[in-house]
Symmetry: C2
Subunit: 176 residues, 2 copies
Amino acid sequence: MKMVVEKGPGALTVAALAKGMKAPIGSVYHRFPSRDVLLAEAWIRIVESFQKEFIETLAKDGLQAALNTIRWVREHPREARILLVYRREELVSGPWPEHLKGRIACLSRELDSGIRSFAKKQFGHAGKETLRRATFALVDVPLAAVRRHLQDGESPPAVIDEMVRETYLATIGSIK
Amino acid sequence: MKMVVEKGPGALTVAALAKGMKAPIGSVYHRFPSRDVLLAEAWIRIVESFQKEFIETLAKDGLQAALNTIRWVREHPREARILLVYRREELVSGPWPEHLKGRIACLSRELDSGIRSFAKKQFGHAGKETLRRATFALVDVPLAAVRRHLQDGESPPAVIDEMVRETYLATIGSIK
DNA sequence: TTGCAATTAGAATATTTGTTCTAGTATAAA
DNA sequence: TTTATACTAGAACAAATATTCTAATTGCAA
């Protein structure tokens, strides 16, 4: 993860990884069947840890969930960078390893149903447009707010919290 | 561009490109010194065409500029995908070709000064926080709103215009 | 101690892909 | 017609890099 964060996913060759770990290449392949699986497992672990917090917070309060994303990024700059700066396909180039497909599917289902529940609880319905608005305010905007700073290797400044809050109120407030 | 949009930048090998064009590999290298230069020129051309419109509109009206971004994406889905779905480094892996450095620098300067002028005109000042807010409302939010749909290969739905407008008013309205 | 499994080591292999090279062909101006 | 330039062709080359393989070595349980 350190290498990916510092030099990008392309720099994480198996040889470089082994060297960085002061271990032989064989040891890498002793534990992981391929580079793709190694990266897929790292990636999914990060997503799970982030999403767990997000879903839990969302069940209580939408705005808090949006703001919590920013807090999580500040607390886990390394993981955040891996999640938000690079495309998933840059890390895991091939198809998903069979043994991870279940976890992936679960993640996407959980997020979906988390947002759906939020919409139902908050507005009494979960139509297409309402879901889009919720996703925008809860997911897209906080991530966008934070991305530019991650790219520069900086911690998101305080204004961002304000802007995400304002955006949230404006976007969610317009739902009838 | 068609191949990048459909199969991703990794699929655009020089051999595949040549085949797709029904031309020999040699013809590619007759016109471009390297794959990187080819992609860099394509990329920069797209950015220039997008940014030109953006800056021109921004000089008249901020909200219009934000909304214009969405319109541009709807009208140029292919170019938009290349710009917004992939990281620039995925297209141009090495350092920028010398003969393009000027144009790159110009683009970034133009955007900066465009936003700065906007802030000055609108609020009479261009402090750090004001610039951040402006960048958020004018650039980050419209792009984020649109990105999810580009990834799925869909045209951005109409709600997005509303949300960008609401966000703009909320974020820019808070500047004193 | 003995024996088995886990691990180390890294050289060798296979593959993919950008780039070069050389020889030939078309085109258009003089 | 001549000639020079632009272009076609694609085989050959080189570099990068994931993966495999085989032989040693270590650690641990019986």
